[in-house]
Amino acid sequence: MKLRLPLILCFLCGIFMIVQFFVPPFTGVYDKLLNWVMIISIPALVIGLTSLIKLHSNRIIRKTPNMPYSTVAFVAMIVMALSGLIGGTGQGTWFEWMFKNIQVPMQATMFSLLAFYIASAAYRAFRARTLEATLMLVTAVLVMLARVPIGDFLWQHVMPDSVLQWKANLPEDVAGWILNVPSMAARRGIILGISLGAIATSIKIILGIERSYMGAGE
């Protein structure tokens, strides 16, 4: 029962959503169901945070070497949460100030480190060891040159006027062609394949064949 009832519910919700797509008068139930799902999904936003909170509080309680850092994290969390809950989140609040001046710069900077790593990886790991990898690297270099101003800039400085009259922005055009024609074709293949896979997974979920998301247990 602990498993069967939720599986039946999942089946009913799934079948209803499929049928509703083809039967317009079902919109009343459909609207209500969607409202419900939006509300049901609210706790999902914060449930992932609990493991982080647990991790840091454990470190503090057990006085591990990481304790000072975890304390920073914990204090920051409480200050941020309380200022938002009490003072609001709108313009001119403490919450917004901290968001703008602490959270934004740090998150943005963390990811900007990847610029350095990608350069170092380009140097140390990206090798044309097979024909496929070679083709990929050549396309990458072409796109990197042509999709930023330097491609056209160099072209227009190197080529004689007669060539420029024919094609003033050839690098950009070539990159555009790659993206719109061969690369697009491959991506379309990927989309079709992934969609069929997603449909298969959805069918398995609705029929209760795929139930790993329900977790183990009776």
Binding site: Y30, L45, Q91, F116, Y123, I150, G176
Partner: protein, 277 residues
């Protein structure tokens, strides 16, 4: 050890320094390389430009601070364009990290050209992406009964007469994740509302099939796309300023790849000869 062998083994911090230099120097000493506009971006601009004043667009700011460098300039450029054309803008987000960011972005773009609630509204965040998009197809006010600041939506003048996608001339999704797919499948195709997207360069390549199938009217990709939009509205902003650095760093990385591969082949040939002899 030959030159080509040595070159493969130096500290990667030299590469870090090279990248830092190629970013910083062009910012300090700009070259001002001309920016070519592509059809993908121009079609978004043209579509918004041709909308009659008073039509409404829905702008979903589905990104977080990690994508700020790419999506902030294009959001500002696109919103400014819409505001100056007297188009009503309804902002929202499907990313909880985007909730505060959206508020800031909408306000900054509006500075001096548009007024909150009169010319634009910011509705804030709603959970469960695709489900919310579907529900908005029936009734936006069922998803957002109040705006970001908690004001009842019925008291916001700009929302008057806007019930669902039928009253929206264009949905723009500025996204750092895969929300454009949800907008296409749950709003664009079934409700016949045109969709334009602005995405980070990482995911831009994957959206060309939708452009080709006319499921999206245009595609603004990364900082370069933003720079193109800035050029189209003739306002040199953050993205345009960054293009020189972008160009120089690309050249640096291309050279790194070439040097590394030459070294790889030289060493490989040498090793082969050694094995043969």
């Amino acid at each position: 050890m030959s030159f080509w062998e040595k070159i493969g083994s130096f500290d990667r911090r030299y590469i870090f320094a090279l990248i830092a230099l190629t970013v910083i120097v062009p910012l300090l000493i700009p070259i001002g390389m001309p920016i070519t506009t592509t059809n993908e971006v121009k079609s978004v601009y043209d579509y918004i430009d041709a909308l009659p004043p008073g039509s409404a667009i829905l702008v979903a700011l589905d990104y977080d601070p990690a994508a700020l460098a790419e999506l902030y300039p294009m959001s500002i450029a696109m919103l400014k364009h819409a505001y100056t054309k007297k188009i009503k803008v309804i902002g929202m987000t499907l990313w909880i990290t985007g909730a505060s960011l959206g508020d800031v972005v909408m306000r900054e773009a509006a500075q001096g050209i548009a007024e909150q609630d009169k010319d634009y509204a910011y509705l804030g965040f709603v959970p469960s992406g695709a489900v919310a998009i579907m529900r908005m197809g029936q009734d936006i006010s069922a998803v957002f009964n109040v705006d970001y600041s908690g004001k009842s939506i019925s008291q916001i003048p700009v929302m008057k007469g806007i019930k669902n996608y039928k009253d929206i001339s264009l949905v723009v999704d500025l996204a750092a994740g895969s929300t454009p797919e949800a907008w296409i499948a749950y709003a664009g195709t079934p409700h016949h509302v045109p969709i334009a997207i602005g995405v980070t360069a990482v995911s831009a390549v994957g959206y060309y099939p939708y452009l080709n199938a006319k499921q999206i009217i245009g595609l603004i990709g990364g900082m370069k796309g933003a720079a193109e939009y800035e050029k189209l509205i003739q306002a040199r902003g953050r993205a345009s300023v960054g293009m020189d650095s972008q160009s120089m760093t690309h050249i640096a990385i291309i050279l790194l790849i070439i040097i590394a591969n030459v070294s790889y082949f030289v060493i490989r040939r040498k090793n082969k000869k050694e094995i043969e002899s």
